[in-house]
Amino acid sequence: MITLLEARNIGKRFGGLQALSDVSLTIRKGEVYGLIGPNGAGKTTFFNVLTGAYTPDGGEFVFNGSELPTGKPHKVVGRGIARTFQNIRLFRELTALENVMAGHHIRTKAGVWGVLTQNRFTREEERLTTERAYELLKYVGIERFADVVSRNLSYGDQRRLEIARALATEPQLLALDEPAAGMNATETAQLKVLIEQIRRDGITVMLIEHDVKLVMGLCDRVAVLDFGKKIAEDVPAVVQKNEAVIAAYLGGGKHAH
């Protein structure tokens, strides 16, 4: 198996709180990798450090064989890592289609001059962006809402739209931060189908999730964070039986607090 992303000794401190300490993990190409842990374990912080929203205090990420820039989100996206957010963050005044089109920004080039003169290159690029965005809406199953302003979409559809927008950046690694949060059982099942489809299409998925059933059913491997430390990393069935993990979730054991 080829390694896609390797995190080496990532550390991040907020004042007196050590949010991440020496976290190392490896994600292989083509797998669905789960990142779980109790609330406040540092999962989202890990995402933020990975995607450049925060700068890590120590450690480095190696993506596709070379080091990732830190603290520069647009460069990270350019290298092929896209993310969604725990609390949905869409561009509320834009339609579903325009949201996805905006997601295509980094793969397009039109500048002010091209836009003002509307030269052939710009027009062609704009047409392709529109078509691609529509295809992506279809891919996640919300193409009938293409012309709806995104803030008026239902919760489940907003989640889907956010995934479509992330896919528009043409990522190799898609990082989903609690995609099933607030979804009912049917929506979660549909989401599972979508994520499996994304994996089949060759995109590696990294997933933060609380829904244990979803994680166990979907992930090839799982890492568990607790108080900013990685306490386990293995296939779901093994992790499930790991004593440190059980202690972290249920309290007691050596992590008693």
Partner: protein, 369 residues
């Protein structure tokens, strides 16, 4: 233009084409009608067009990119002073109009980037305060740069600026057609400014429905998410400031040439606020809103000046409230009422950020399959 046409009551929804023609006709005959009330009204219309350009430029920054700018008039000042320096007896330089125009726009854009860099990390209130300060700094520079070396001529301003000269055609002279028919210079300026506004509409609209416009809107709606999909927010902010400033600079050049005189007084904080009010009043984030807001609020004080004094004299026998005081009062009242009744502005249209026909073509293809 479509948004503007759609905003016309009744006609806009039933027959958009007719509505568009109506707007065009009104725009063309407006100065002729205004002339009936006196030549000063044509002059007021000319200024209204300049305000429209300003409002469109500010709308780019505030409405599209979501960057509150309270010092926008500084770019207008940069444009106007550039023109004054390069085409007046002050330095005894008289460059041609078409040379100064890009220079004025360029200097204003540079000023925009100068303002943009320090405020990259600021948002909301903080951004507003710094931009406000920037506007004041520029004005105070203009006011005081007459000593030890006289550059701006201080509070006296610069006089006798060359008029607009289009390849030898002087717009400040009445156009003589035949023996006894002539077109007043004010009309010539009107139609020239109208062309400038039309060009600005086309440019701003093209920006809006492009990759650039979407990136601005994305940044405005959620900066963190915009970064997370790979938008370089620093560059997009600088671009918004500099392009917005370009419009300010261009209209500043036109203002200097049209008025023939510039002084720091024309570029006070109140002017910045007035332009911002036009954008908010008309409907933030859409071109039609900026145009209507600018038109209404540029005309309002003039109408007031003409109406308020005689009205008060007939009602009370003497003038109770000075028109200038009344103007502020009514403006504030209008804003309060707007916020209560129509918080999204006179024309609350949602701006589009993509070409309609691309999607409809795509849908047709899909249907054909």
């Amino acid at each position: 233009m479509n948004e503007l046409a759609a905003a016309i009551p009744w006609l806009g929804k039933r027959n958009p084409t007719a509505a568009r023609w109506l707007i065009l006709i009104i725009a063309l005959v407006a100065p002729v009608i205004a002339w009936q009330f006196g030549r000063s009204w044509v002059r007021i219309l000319d200024f209204a067009l300049l305000y429209m350009m300003l409002a469109m430029g500010l709308n780019l920054v505030v409405g599209f990119a979501g960057l509150l700018d309270l010092g926008y008039i500084a770019f207008y000042a940069v444009g106007a002073y550039t023109f004054a320096f390069l085409a007046s007896p002050h330095f005894d330089v008289h460059l041609p109009f078409w040379t100064i125009l890009p220079l004025g726009a360029g200097f204003a854009a540079m000023a925009g980037i100068m303002l943009g860099f320090p405020v990259l990390r600021l948002r909301g209130d903080y951004l507003a305060i710094v931009t406000l300060g920037f506007g004041e700094i520029v004005r105070i520079f203009m006011l005081n740069l007459n000593y030890p070396v006289n550059i701006t001529n201080g509070p006296q301003g610069i006089n006798m600026i060359d008029p607009i000269n289009l390849f030898g055609w002087d717009l400040s002279r009445n156009l003589q057609i035949g023996e006894n028919f002539s077109i007043n210079s004010l009309f010539l300026y009107y139609y020239f400014f109208l062309l400038a506004v039309a060009g600005s509409i086309v440019f701003v609209h093209r920006l809006q429905i492009s990759r650039v416009g979407r990136a601005w809107a994305a940044m405005r709606d959620d900066e963190l998410a915009a970064k997370a999909i790979g938008i370089n927010t620093r560059n997009m902010k600088l671009l918004a400031f500099s392009l917005g400033a370009t419009f300010g600079g261009l209209s500043g050049c036109l203002f200097g040439a049209f008025q023939g005189f510039v002084s720091p007084e024309s570029f006070s904080l109140m002017e910045s606020i007035a332009v911002l009010t036009m954008v908010v009043f008309g409907g933030m984030g859409n071109i039609a809103g900026a145009l209507v807001g600018a038109f209404v609020l540029a005309l309002l004080p003039e109408i007031l000046r003409d109406v308020a004094v005689p009205l008060q004299q007939t009602l009370f026998g003497h003038v109770l409230l000075d028109p200038e005081v009344l103007r502020m009062l009514l403006l504030s009242l209008a804003m309060i009422l707007m916020m209560l009744l129509r918080p999204a502005g006179l024309i609350p249209a949602r701006a589009r950020y993509s070409h309609d026909h691309h999607l409809s073509n795509k849908l047709k293809q899909e249907a054909a399959k």
